[in-house]
Amino acid sequence: MNCKLVTLALLISQVGFAESQYTHWINYTAANGMPDDKVTSVAIDHERVWAGTENGLVLLVGGRIERVFQPADGLAHRFVTGVAVDSKTGDVWISTFGGLSQYSGGHFHNYSSSSSGLANDIVYGVGLQGDNVWAATTAGISRLNVRTGEWTVFSERNAPLHEPWSYGISVSDKKVYVAVWGGGMLEFDIAGEYWKPYNDPDGEMEIVLFRNQGLIHDIVSSVSWNPDSKMVWASTYFGLSGYDGRNWHNYLSTDSGVASDFINAAKSVGPYVWACTDKGLSRLNFKDNTWETYRVNAQSGRGEIIMTDGNGKVTKRETLTALAHSYILNIDVQNDDIWVATAKGLSHGTISHKENESHANLRSRR
């Protein structure tokens, strides 16, 4: 009886696994309208998708490339590193290598270090918190209060930044989290206006002495607050870290299903944590400790899903369509849709049951 129950549970688990997998991909590359293959960032705003590339900002509406914005259109710089959509005002904030852009009502307004209080023109990430716009720059963290116009710079002089080079911003209702390259993760208390640093307890060593002792490494490439699980996740170049306010939960490729320890970005929504690695897109289901990694089979060009269950057992599944590339830079999630920024294009993944689509048809879409 027990044996049957276990078998039934496994079957249900497998069915659930498969049903929530992303098996259908549509890719957008320089060959079909993108201004550049290297897509650095992506943000979903209902039917609109904003994608930052090395050569401009792309707006997709209903799955079609609607417009490409470049400096000639008013964008601060061609190299776009991050996008954040203000759900209240509809304005889009764009971090670039030439300052910060605000897209509003069809036009850009730009902020640079010479024309405003922005700390530096190399801006890697942008986040929105109430009336504040936060920008992660190479010279510290900048905060603009859009109502008063006041700029505040947080750097090694007035915040616990070992390095001023900040990479990413994520906002919760009470905190602002910042990824600092070589400086760990910072937490800003909005009400109290103070910082709290989180660093690798092993210091500079690229080893982990105790698995869940603290942040896995100080080279943090991005942070992601999950409002559902109330956890913050940090991607590093040496593994993935999650913090629930009490305990750390760390993952390495050697002891989990994450595709690689070199993680460019993390995104956590619902029970899932997405890790954008240099060897594929990995998804952790934090509830049951199962993993999926989406990548491109270099030989066949088809997609692969590598599944790792809670016991470490690995299975593989092949899909007819695949991500544009296995080098993943960023991701955004809206319900069952995911949009993935890769080194060779933008990918739209959906949960599809049409597994019998013709190979030729799929080839033509890639």
């Binding site: 209240k88 009502g105 024309s115 209080g117 009336d131 010279a139 006041e150 700029w151 002089r157």
Partner: protein
């Protein structure tokens, strides 16, 4: 106790009686039987019974009220109070104050949406639009407008709110101005479009034609040729006044511009706009010419469609094609409203406390309603009238107010006439709080306002005989009386934030006060060379500007090349001539800027 209350009431009446009313905005009740009049200088709202033309009610609102909006059912009124940063909500029948709503900085234009659920308020100093949830009585969001948002209008179908911006974009000083009209989607409550109007500025009232008359928008504007030498004023076609015609589309709008001036007579200060209910006529007030122009809208559309949109804005022969009549109004007509039955149009005469009623059948003045302000014209009032009077300029092209809207600045640089033509292009400067900041002009050559506004202005700006000595006395007295607005960056108790305090330390520690002396309004009242002389400047010495309310004064430096306070030091301080700031960190520079904003 009762006698004390009576004394207070009497004092209030006496105080009110001593103030000019200065009606600046009007709105009609849905049935057209009541006209609501916003009286800027007496902090009051009046109601007028339109059949009898009598003032029936008066209520005190906040400081410097600017506009009034009605709820869709006509039961409530909302008055924006520019200097209180509030909106007063009133019962339309009893005039009882229901509550006071907080807004952003400097609320001016406002409207409710079609359901009456949301109030849209243009914040002229905050450069944004507050959306206020009227059920909860609190602000729900602010939308970026751009620069000094001014008039606000709900579209006839309720799907959009239109917001005009008084000042143009901040841009390099050698470019002509570009202004914008914001379109707000009332369903999504976002700015859905920004309509750019090139070579135009000082966008004021907006009105929408009925659908049967084309459904287009008209917005009052000015078209300056500020890149040309000012001597062009004498030859005409320099400061022209007109309308923006915007045809809103589903996703994008088209914009054209047309002039309402005649070839040899200009109509400065295009301001109020209203359509007759059937759309046949549009009325535009020229606040500095004391005229309302009545336009045949069908002829206007035909004319606009007959010419190349690039050529149209500069044609001074346009008006004769569509202007039906020019009617003299009272002094400084600002707002205009038409009655629902189309019989009358009402015009607020800002500087003579009256309402002109136009008979829309005869297209003539039916009656002038005296609102009851003081009959004695003081020196200041006379000066204010002169300040708004374009008749002193050649062909009526401009008044002082034309380039100093809201007694402030217009935000662009002008190529003023100098002995060496084409040289010394300078940014316009504010007139607020300048009484004790002589000398005047960027070159500091005018020791007092009498010199600034006297024969030199007559010769170089107005190209006319100018003001006589009595008028000059009145005008300069008025200019000296122009107050500074409240400081929005300083806390009510005057306590500085940590950043402002650090900035204060830098300001005095770096000896900024040696030139920007706090004892004399943060100017040393002399000239200095801060290394900003440009190619066409004949001297590097420029008057040290006063710094009070400096955050309201971009662009900066003598030619307006610094578009932000930061740029003064990050871009335009060669060799540290504008203070020793090269070693400041970005945090320190931000602190310094935050302190400057408190002045």
């Amino acid at each position: 106790m009762r006698s004390l209350a009576a004394l207070v009431a009497l004092a209030s009446v006496l105080s009110a009686a001593e103030s000019y009313l200065s009606p600046t905005e009007i709105k009609l009740s849905p049935n057209g039987r009541t006209l609501y009049v916003v009286c800027e200088d007496s902090d009051a709202l009046l109601s007028i019974d339109t059949p009898s033309c009598k003032v029936t009610n008066r209520v005190t609102v906040g400081h410097r009220p600017k506009d009034v909006a009605l709820s869709p059912d006509g039961r409530h009124l909302y008055v924006s109070n520019e200097w209180s940063d509030t909106v007063t909500e009133l019962d339309a029948q009893s005039f009882a104050v229901r509550r006071t709503l907080k807004t952003g900085w400097g609320p001016i234009g406002l409207t409710t949406d079609k359901t009456g659920a949301t109030l849209y308020v243009a914040n002229s100093i905050g450069d944004d639009v507050s959306l206020i949830d009227l059920a909860k009585g609190c602000e729900i969001k602010r939308l970026k407008s751009w620069r000094s948002p001014n008039a606000v209008r709900l579209s006839r179908d309720g799907s959009r709110v239109f917001v005009s911006n008084l000042l143009p974009h901040l841009a390099p000083y050698d470019q002509s101005p570009v202004s914008e009209l914001n379109l707000i989607d009332t369903t999504k409550q976002i700015v859905s479009e920004r309509v750019f109007l090139p070579d135009a500025m000082e966008l004021r009232h907006v009105a929408e034609a009925p659908a049967n008359a084309g459904g287009f928008l008209l917005v009052a504007l000015m078209r300056p040729k500020n890149l040309n030498p000012l001597i062009q004023v004498q030859q005409g076609w320099f400061l022209t006044h007109g309308l923006g015609l915007i045809q809103p589309g589903r996703t994008s709008s088209t914009a054209k511009q047309v002039l309402i001036d005649d070839i040899d007579q200009y109509y400065a200060g295009a301001d109020g706009i209203a359509f007759a209910p059937d759309g046949r006529y549009a009325l535009i007030t020229s606040s500095e010419a004391n005229v309302v122009t009545i336009i045949d809208t069908a002829k206007l559309r035909r004319h606009v469609n007959a010419f190349d949109p690039a050529d149209l804005p500069n044609r001074l022969d346009s008006a004769r094609s569509f202007v039906v009549r020019r009617i003299q109004t009272g002094i400084n007509p600002t707002a205009v409203a038409t009655s629902p039955d189309g019989a009358n149009a009402y015009i607020a005469n800002h500087l003579d406390d009256s309402i002109t009623v136009i008979d829309m059948t005869r297209l003539s003045v039916r009656v002038t309603i005296d609102l009851g302000g003081p009959k004695e014209i003081t020196t200041l009032r006379a000066g204010e009238r002169l300040f708004h009077d374009a008749s002193f300029a050649v062909q009526g092209q401009l008044a002082c107010f034309t380039c100093h809207p809201a007694n402030h600045l217009d935000g662009v640089a002008w190529n003023l006439e100098t002995p060496q033509l084409g040289r010394d292009r300078v940014a316009n400067r504010t007139l607020r709080g300048i009484a004790e900041t002589a000398p005047y002009k960027w070159n500091g050559h005018n020791p007092d306002l009498e010199t600034q506004c006297g024969p030199r202005s007559a010769r170089f700006i107005f190209h006319s005989e100018g003001f006589n000595s009595e008028q000059l006395k009145q005008l300069t007295a008025f200019i000296r009386s122009i107050p500074l607005p409240p400081n929005r960056h300083l806390s009510p108790d005057g306590e500085l934030t940590a950043s402002q305090e650090r900035g204060k330390g830098l300001f005095f520690g770096r000896n900024c006060a040696s030139c920007h002396d706090p004892k004399t309004h943060y100017t040393a009242r002399t000239s200095a060379d801060v290394g900003t002389a440009a190619q066409y400047d004949t001297s590097g010495m420029f008057d040290i500007p006063q710094l009070e309310r400096v955050y309201e004064k971009p662009p900066y430096l003598h030619n307006g090349e610094a578009l932000s306070l930061e740029q003064i030091w990050t871009v335009y301080s060669p060799g540290g001539k504008h203070g020793q700031t090269a070693d400041l960190t970005k945090e320190q520079l931000n602190d310094l800027v935050e302190f400057l904003k408190t002045l």
